[in-house]
Symmetry: C3
Subunit: 346 residues, 3 copies
């Protein structure tokens, strides 16, 4: 729990967070970053500290294509190079701040906090539902006072649903206990599949789709460091849910951008999309999901309090941790490999 | 000021804090504990951290005789043994949390945070007034942002009464200065006696008993690690207060359960009983005592702020510290003995 | 940024902060001090911690010429000698707290936190405007959550005015960029002069003096460790501002008492005086100055947050830092000299 995976694409925000000419200060992986969009629409991400007197650049303003420090007016371009120091002609060559690779894709802003030369925008996970008129969606940004891996654990093991979320997506405990869970490594991540055939529909499902009788329900989780996609949903019993015919059913497609802020706090950029386009349904689904994820947030924050009291105390795994443990081991391997590439001096 | 006495009975709460089926999370001696009462009425006290993912058990609920974790539904019995892991048959043998000896007596819940094999419920101090119809009483629970020994100092040296509590139990300063104080070690603690013959009654005494003239007043403190009992009161002058005839006078019998929460914060479980059963008097006495103890709380918190600034700066004793110093020395001896019984490796 | 200059006079408060019989607790250079004025009017400054049980003396009350501890009534004179311990005759010789040299001058209370034998009240900077009917003034006390040297930097380099204070004393940026700045060491400090001839008047100047056309404007800064005086103002163009004829113009004479509270927090005792005695003008000038200095405070607090994140990261100087760097170097020399006089054991 003591470090980060640096060489990875992380969600830094939603595209809609930054209109042209706007700036935002956020911390990722323990580093303070200013995100901005220039007047012409170019995204930038710089170390959020002016080289002169450490003023956060996020307190400044866009001056055309440059970001201007609020204190003495120094200006920087998107590469972090200081381009203007008022009251003097000469600009020292060391007058630059670190810049971070940043890319907009599928309505999200992605950032790479590690070695810039390893960043390849082709590696950013796609989430086409954010652009597809067959889906309606809403996005959110929670700040969670807990370690990022606790949030991954939470999402990889949905056996907590009947306990933490009985009023929304949880539903009947026995349905969950009987559910067969299959966790597998994939090429670049982990997949967990959980099917609950012929089971009673939970409250959110009834609210959104109006199920009258038992359903064939699925939960399918894809972990791709460091985000998750969770497809949950149901069809009326025996109508093809497990044979790939799901369009007539109810789908919730969750996007989970998990970006460590510090070792003990996490940005949670999530969205929820549904295939039910009836007016009002996406709002209902979003509101119930927000309520659900607030319940998870409370859990993570309680866990963190206990872990802080005794950080080295062991945790005991149970059977339903299989998928989460695959994810943890994959992350550990990636972090180990990353450390190995660093020079001994570093 | 840097440690605790572990092998001792501490007040963990009032009996009325826990109805059947309820749970409470509290920290004692730096350790997080969940207190609960099962549906059948049995008290339990466990380490407040689920073995699985460190969720506080106090966030959970009673399931009959078991406490169930809120997150994934693991259940534990009062001995701390995990008795159920939903979704799996096998329960690992290491699936248990620490349990603490706990006992209900005289309307209080007592806990033993040290070596369980040394806990003997016969050692719990009795406080019969909590069961005796000749006394009316009320209990309270304050959280004090100060070290526990500062609270013991406060209660062992009542020469602060005219300064801190002039509006309630303090009264005339000269009465206090003239009072002869006798501090003595007892078999298992310290006793301080302070008599103020032929003195003016303080405000609370007049409010409760209606004294018209001067009184023979007493303050008698018993320290039994780690609680105190303080009997204060008065009779009209010359009517037997110092010869054991006090029933016709006014008595306030204070119970002071002092339980360290951390090195810098303290649970203060106190009650005040009076022998005046006239309707309303116990409420007046309780309210004035609560006001008085809030004044003490403010003092302790100010002291702690200064001590934190300079923890090693010496303190200078004065004459009225005799009783408090006996208590400190007794505690030091007990803590030293306790450390000596630990193995060198620990 | 890691230490203080101890042997210097610092502003501890305004004379009006302490009426006879009043006490105030404040921290200077990391040390908690009680300031008081006895019933007869004598100022005192003592370590704010009773020798007995560490109670802050500032929680106590004046008993005539003595300050009495709130807890057990110990009394101290202005030299810090304990003069009374209720309930006992003998007062131990070690019963004394540290006293600090303190002096009232020009409406401010000055304190010396270093070696008392080096304190000479003749070294306290005069600020005669506080006593001169030709000037009207108001004083304030801000608490700034930033290091004291950041505040000195701020005041020594006024090129931030057009960026941080455009709505009050800043005005047109080009005026500032064209201004020639001369920074020089003086006998016991630093002087910075900045002239802006034939320039448009900023908002506060128009509000106070009603300038109709361009002005000859000046900014003259005197740094005398550890306070600053800043004289700013203007006359109509060509009417003698730079030849010493300023009485017919508009003057703002700022007094800046900068007293470290801790390494990361600073007392800012400032006043603003003006030569315009028309009713209402001093209030306008004070209010606009308070607004201006609140803007500076926000800057300093943002800087401190970034510096805390990475205290060793370098800062890059720019040309306008000349005066501020003279001040920093002078402070460093004084602090180095101060450390050299300490015995090796200390």
């Amino acid at each position: 729990m003591s470090m980060f995976l640096n060489n990875a694409w992380y969600v830094a925000g939603w595209s809609s967070d930054l209109a042209p000419g706007q700036t935002i200060g956020r911390k990722f992986l323990g580093q303070s970053v200013v995100l901005f969009r220039t007047q012409s629409g170019v995204l930038g991400a710089l170390e959020d500290r002016c080289i002169h007197r450490a003023m956060p650049l996020s307190q400044g303003h866009m001056a055309g294509e440059m970001i201007r420090c609020a204190y003495h007016g120094l200006e920087y371009d998107s590469a972090g190079v200081c381009t203007r120091i008022p009251s003097q002609e000469r600009i020292p060559s060391k007058a630059r701040v670190r810049s971070y690779p940043v890319q907009e894709q599928d309505a999200a802003i992605w950032i790479w906090m590690g070695e810039a030369e390893r960043a390849d925008v082709a590696d950013i996970p796609r989430h086409a539902m954010h652009q597809d008129p067959a889906w309606a969606w809403r996005g959110e940004h929670f700040k969670v006072a807990g370690n990022w891996q606790l949030l991954i654990d939470n999402l990889m093991d949905l056996s907590h649903l009947p306990y933490i979320h009985p009023h929304t997506i949880g539903g009947d405990p026995d349905t969950h206990f009987r559910a067969k869970t299959v966790a597998e490594r994939s090429d670049n991540g982990v997949v967990v599949r959980r099917h609950m055939p012929n089971s009673p529909p939970p409250p959110t499902y009834v609210a959104a789709k109006g199920f009258q009788g038992p359903i064939d329900r699925w939960q399918e989780i894809e972990f791709m460091p460091v985000m998750l996609r969770i497809h949950t949903g149901a069809c009326d019993v025996g109508t093809g849910a497990y044979e790939g015919r799901r369009e007539h059913g109810f789908s919730m497609m969750g996007f989970h951008g998990i970006t460590p802020e510090t070792e003990k706090t996490t940005h949670y950029f999530w969205s929820m999309a549904t295939n039910i386009l009836t007016p009002g349904v996406v709002d209902t689904v979003f509101e119930q999901t927000a309520l659900t994820f607030k319940e998870d947030q409370a859990v993570l924050e309680q866990q963190q309090l206990r872990i802080d009291e005794n950080p080295l105390a062991p945790l005991v795994d149970i059977g339903t941790d299989a998928g989460g443990n695959f994810a943890r081991r994959q992350l550990e391997a990636l972090m180990r490999a990353e450390r190995a590439t660093l020079s001994p001096a570093a």
